[in-house]
Amino acid sequence: MLEIPCPWCGLRNENEFICGGEAQRKRPADPDRETDEAWADYLYNNANPKGVVTEWWWHVSGCTLWFKIDRNTLTHEITPIEELPE
């Protein structure tokens, strides 16, 4: 049961959150311009690193903030990287 550091609420159990996947996947600004390959890559492919990955997490049971953290996929060590939004 991971402990996730929400920037607003502090440390909470994993079950209060939903993982939003890798943060490096950003929706293309103009999807119409993407080739089929690039679009499929955006839809389906993850970097899936062995090591640190930057991820979105959503504090759905708490303050409902979406935020990013760095997580080590081998050790589960988590590093908060976001300050509170202004």
Binding site: R12, N15, T64, L84
Partner: protein, 169 residues
Amino acid sequence: MSYQVKISVLDDFALLNLRGTKAAVARFETALELEFPKGAQGVRVRDGVAVLNLAPDHWWVRTSLEDEDQTFTSLSEAITIEHAAITVVSDHFSGFSIVGDDALLVLRQGLSLDLRNIATGQCTRGSFARCGGTLQVLDQGYHYDLFVEASYADYVSAWLDRAGGGGGA
């Protein structure tokens, strides 16, 4: 045999959900004559009106049912061009009060957050039982108000009864 705790349904409360930019919040503050809490777990109370800070741009105004309409109107009229959303959510939530020496022994069965960190006069939101809950601490270790989504009220009522050591389901 059960825990020393009394659980009852809260029947007189109104809740208004506020979202807004800094400019909108300034308007809210003027309308209610009350400075809003601006930090996690913050609550400010004045004359029967409590303002709970649930997220960086998200507050609840808690008042009595009688004052619901008037509070909604004064907040709505305070906003001119600012980006804000004021929604009456009194019916969207059901409230329970948990009072007694063993209040934490009941709550710790459903809340997985660190209750040592929420002091008297504070609030928070988290996972509770199998739904979720908003907790307002009236007296740490002794008196808590818990709000859950109304469709879960029957379930939470049975859950609290069982957690308190009663028959439950």
